[in-house]
Amino acid sequence: MINTGDTAFVLLSTALVMLMTPGLALFYGGMVRKKNVLGVLMQCFILLCLLSIQWVLFGYSLAFFPSQGFTGGLTWFGLRGIGLDPNPDYAATIPHHAFIAFQMMFAVITPALIIGAFAERMKFSAFLVFSILWATLVYDPVCHWVWGSGGWLKTLGVLDFAGGIVVHTTAGIASLVAALVIGKRKNLDHNTPTPHNLPFVATGTALLWFGWFGFNAGSALGANSVACNAFMTTNTAAAAAGLTWSILEWIRNGKPTIFGTLTGTIAGLATITPASGYVTVLSAVIIGIVASVVCYIAVGVVKPKLGYDDSLDAFGVHGVGGIIGTLMVGLFATKAVNPSGANGLFYGDSKQFFIQLFAVGVVFVYTLTVSFVLYKLVDLFMRVRVSEKEELMGLDLTQHRKRAYTVLE
């Protein structure tokens, strides 16, 4: 039975999530040097095009056709046989197409998150091939396991409200692999690249925060109390995390920065994502604080020690946030918020924590392996990294023959 309120809510949430990919483009675009800003914007926008097509052709079928297999298979190829009636497996009160569209935006932004790891040095053609392969062989299967009807992790009882595993763990781990395989940017040691436009980063963060209401509250797939809870926990965690990061900076570096505050809010948003529909607002405060502390350590302490060049901290913020958020579902989840969820460790049941831990572990290993193989494969056939000269000249000119800014006029 179609409910008009639910349908309107999900469609608008879909549009909000769509806006997150351009938001991410600005978020990342501001962080790179000005010779690479168009490269980043282009990578984000082209994924919006490329993966929208992949999704309606076969991505949705692989991810969501009811099946107990490794993926959903190709029965719904080209959305064949899908009418406008609701699909009660996923959302009983909205037309099936509203669900497809909503999930499409998740499938788009997930590979886009990885752009932050190899920013400023990946060849555009190799990027396209890698992204489509990764979406098909990592995102679609994992999405099926966790969210698809019959998916084995779903059957096991794992809880991932809006994508802590499906979106942030997969993209985060792929980012770590990407940064390690592609190697450091040139001249990094004596010339630390500084973000060329922090106001862009702020605008991008604003769009991401705004879009995240669609991402998390929309994941309730109805205009109901769970959606409202997710809305509140999302904003609360973002606020607590932004505040925490700026305080950490203030203590450690003497001054709080806008860049740190923005990074903190994104860490908080990524971390609350899997938990948003299962935890209380007060728990979201704690989750936000923990998110910033852990991501701060990952980005500011662990990364420099290990020496990998995750240019824009796709792993350190999204990956780490997604993983700890998923684990915290096992601690803070309560049926008082969402009866279809579970009680976590702090509400008297330790079982859920171990399910969450197991699911993260499995997805961690699977994503690590497949992402690594895909990188090596693409590298073998078309070399993933641009030449040294191209890297020094910047991706804007060498990959797209365009400059973002003029000197005169």
Binding site: L392, M393, L397, R403, T406, L408
Partner: protein, 113 residues
């Protein structure tokens, strides 16, 4: 005292800076400029520059040095900036009448440092 002005390819700036540091030259001023020489504003890689009326983006270095540093500085710039292709740039060596360090009022060779 001489003022050395060099126009180089932007992507060679890091290499030139490295060579200058090796030669013991640390005091440089860098600016972004537009211009064109023999290549007339069109090379394969700079096609995007059409938008700015065929003027190419270059980097200008200004380095004031004492006479004994002129040769090492010029050599360092060449070493860092040379690719052998049209568009590598030019170096101008200009006589420098005086130099004043604002903080102390020192003049001449001491101020050039």
């Amino acid at each position: 005292m001489k003022l050395i002005i060099a126009i180089i390819q932007p992507y060679k700036l890091e290499d030139v800076k490295d060579e200058l540091y090796k030669a013991g030259v640390n005091l440089i001023t860098v600016s972004e400029v537009l211009g064109h020489g023999r290549q007339k504003g069109i090379t394969e890689v700079y096609r995007g520059a059409k938008e700015t009326g065929n003027l190419l983006r270059k980097i200008r270095l200004e380095i004031a040095v004492n006479d004994s540093f002129v040769e090492p500085t010029v050599k360092a710039i060449i070493k860092g900036a040379k690719t052998g292709e049209t568009g590598d740039g030019k170096i101008f060596v200009v006589p420098l009448e005086d130099c004043v360090r604002i903080r102390t009022g020192e003049k001449g060779a001491v101020a050039v440092g």
